[in-house]
């Protein structure tokens, strides 16, 4: 009796336990990443020159006034203590108070801007996916288009967002008047209209990047032997491309796309600044120069968490796309 029970338990535990263990390990890794990264941000900010108390103390502050402000803000305590103070507030959803905007909590500052930035990032992510894939597939599927696409994407890749932004504004907003030059708009369609240029400016380089990865992965996959097998079996070229080239190239493409989307939140700062959008990015830039610890940390955490979550999702997607990763212990 005990023997059968024991074997039942071990049979149950074999796969399931391994899975649970893998999930726990992943979660622990993700949490650790967030903690280490936020501490790095905190420490870097603390090491940077400047003192938030100076801005608050007004003109010609006395050393006593500064010391008093330090005490009020808790800045007189050691770095590690301050960091853990901040960290312990997280589980309760307490992001702390802003230093610059006194009397307003960080959560209140983040709330309205969060929606705008997420809209912008999602908009850009969709543009990257559609345009990047389209250009990449065109270049990868048709031999004649390979050269032109390589040239086009190299040029687009070389244009940084802060250069693309003013060009787009002067051409499409000021020149043709199709889109507004500044502001985020309100309501879905208005936001869509307002954020088209910023999203384009944000997306353009990443689009080119994704297009290049797509094109080269498709070409590499096309040259692989199993594609020859599929062709040699008389499958129609469209089927060969879809089932054997695109499907296999989806593995590198999805990786690059995932990482791109993860990085968009950080990239949004520059574009928001250029288009005068009051989003998380502009808030963070302002807060960094003012050394507004809690605000910087809150935005940084969001960026870090977005990164960690996306990379985990990409990993999960990999096991769906590549059966070789599903078997316990990798190969076979």
């Amino acid at each position: 009796m005990t023997l059968t029970l024991h074997s039942a338990v071990s049979r149950f535990s074999g796969r399931t336990l391994w899975r649970i263990r893998a999930i726990v390990r992943r979660l622990a890794g993700a949490v650790l990443t967030v903690v280490v990264a936020t501490f790095a941000v905190y420490a870097a900010l603390a090491a940077a020159p400047g003192d938030p108390a100076l801005a608050l103390a007004g003109r010609n502050p006395t050393p006593e006034r500064i010391a008093q402000l330090h005490q009020e803000l808790g800045l007189d305590r050691p770095l590690v203590v301050r960091y853990f103070d901040w960290l312990s507030g997280l589980p309760r959803g307490d992001l702390g108070q802003s230093i610059v905007y006194r009397n307003s909590s960080v959560a209140d500052l983040l709330g309205p801007r969060f929606g705008t930035t997420v809209f912008l990032v999602v908009y850009a992510a969709v543009l990257i996916l559609l345009l990047g894939l389209l250009l990449g597939v065109l270049g990868g599927a048709f031999r004649r288009l390979n050269g032109p696409m390589a040239a086009l994407t190299s040029v687009a890749l070389a244009i940084p967002g802060f250069v693309a932004a003013p060009i787009l504004v002067s051409a499409l907003a000021l020149g043709l008047g199709w889109f507004p030059a500044v502001g985020a708009g309100s309501g879905f369609t208005d936001q869509l209209w307002h954020l088209t240029l910023p999203a384009l400016a944000l997306a353009i380089g990443w689009c080119a990047w994704l297009a290049q990865i797509t094109r080269t992965s498709l070409r590499a996959e096309k040259a692989s032997e199993h594609v020859g097998t599929a062709t040699g079996r008389g499958l129609p070229p469209v089927t060969v491309f879809r089932r054997h080239v695109l499907r296999n190239a989806a593995i590198p493409i999805s990786t690059v796309y995932g990482l791109t989307v993860a990085g968009l939140l950080a990239g949004a700062a520059v574009v928001e600044q250029a288009f005068g959008i009051d989003g998380l990015g502009t808030l963070m830039l302002r807060s960094v120069s003012a050394k507004d610890y809690n605000v910087v940390l809150a935005v940084a955490s969001l960026i870090i968490i977005a990164f960690v979550v996306t990379t985990q999702l990409v990993d999960a997607l990999h096991t769906v796309l590549d059966p070789r990763l599903r078997t316990k212990g990798g190969r076979k």
Partner: protein, 350 residues
């Protein structure tokens, strides 16, 4: 074994004559095949034998018309009287899907790793509008025929979960599924474990005989070729130098290269130092205007260097050698690396 490839008068299933192939290498066309001629009758097995780089695999790629972009062919490749090189897209697809099938060297590279064995096997049938159920039943039946016992379970597995030998059986089963008339096997056992090579070869041989398929079998192993084929074509530097019945090639080889190849096989009975044909094999594009084997041939004369010999019938062989009649039965290589007929400095060291 049938040593006559096809009854007189009837067209062979495959006729390759004076095939030439150029493939672009960094934009420049490079000669890969000089002059390849052979015939394969229905149900007959032909072995294409030669060293690496002799153009055996490329010849099969021409038969399948699986050539890199920019490849240029010249000469005739006829399947059942139809030129393969002239087929339009639709005819080519029909030809590939139902007339010819190929077993590749490395099944792990030749089978897409992201689909199950079942999906791989049924894919081609599904494309021909065979119902899923029927396709799966046929696939399972064939897996059993090639000696895979737990076929239904294997159908659900992925290629990386199968051993190389098992995967090559899957490959063989997939080749049989569409009931082709011609089977091409490109060194089907080279990438496998020595212990499974024999099994896989036996299955391949058995399947093709049962079904009466014509076979083009690529190998560098003369003995293996002799065991499973009816005729052997010996290739060197993109050229067919000699074709003969497999059964008596050993005794009647006419071309100095064929004799050299036979002499350089390792012997398990007589353990002497392994002999090798002196010099290094030349690639097709390096060959001069004369016979492609002149550089390494101990019997080469001025004529051999100046004029390329065409494949002609001598006895019941086809041989491309100017001196075939004259040298018949007189070529022997000794184990110490000297040709005893006409010893000269070219064969001095091994």
């Amino acid at each position: 074994m049938n040593s006559r490839p096809n009854p007189p008068g009837a067209d062979p299933l495959v006729r390759v004559s004076h095939l030439r192939l150029d493939i672009p290498v960094r934009g420049e066309p490079r000669r890969v095949l000089h002059d390849v001629s052979f015939e394969v009758g229905a149900g007959v097995a032909l072995g294409l034998v030669g060293e690496s780089g002799s153009g055996k695999s490329m010849t099969t790629r021409v038969l399948m018309r699986l050539l890199p972009h920019g490849a240029a062919t010249d000469g005739d490749v006829l399947f059942d009287g139809t030129p393969v090189t002239g087929m339009d897209r639709r005819a080519l697809r029909r030809y590939r899907s139902s007339e010819v099938a190929m077993v590749y060297q490395d099944p792990r590279a030749a089978i897409n790793p992201v689909y199950t064995v079942g999906a791989f096997l049924t894919e081609a049938l599904r494309e021909q509008k065979v119902s899923r159920k029927e396709a799966e039943e046929r696939a399972v039946a064939l897996l059993r025929e090639v000696g895979i016992t737990d076929a239904p379970r294997r159908m659900r597995q992925y290629p990386h979960q199968l051993s190389g030998g098992l995967l090559q059986r899957v490959m063989i089963a997939s080749a049989m599924l569409t009931k082709p008339r011609l089977l091409i096997a490109d060194e089907p056992t080279t990438a496998l474990d020595v212990t499974t090579q024999e099994e896989v070869m036996a299955i391949l041989d058995e399947q093709r005989r049962e079904r009466g398929l014509a076979l083009v079998f690529i190998t560098h192993d003369l003995d293996l070729a002799a065991a499973v084929t009816d005729r052997i074509a010996v290739m060197y530097a993109g050229t067919v130098l000699e074709t003969a019945a497999s059964a008596n090639l050993h005794e009647t080889a006419l071309h100095p290269y064929t004799v050299g190849l036979l002499a350089s096989r390792p012997s398990t009975v007589d353990v002497k130092r392994l002999w090798a044909i002196p010099g290094r094999p030349v690639s097709a594009f390096e060959a001069g205007p004369g016979c492609v084997f002149t550089e390494r041939c101990p019997f080469a004369q001025d004529r051999c260097r100046a004029e390329r010999p065409a494949l002609r019938t001598v006895d019941d062989h086809q041989v491309a050698c100017h001196r075939a009649e004259e040298l018949r039965g007189r070529i022997t290589y000794e184990a110490d690396g000297h040709a005893d007929h006409q010893h000269d400095e070219q064969t001095e060291s091994v």
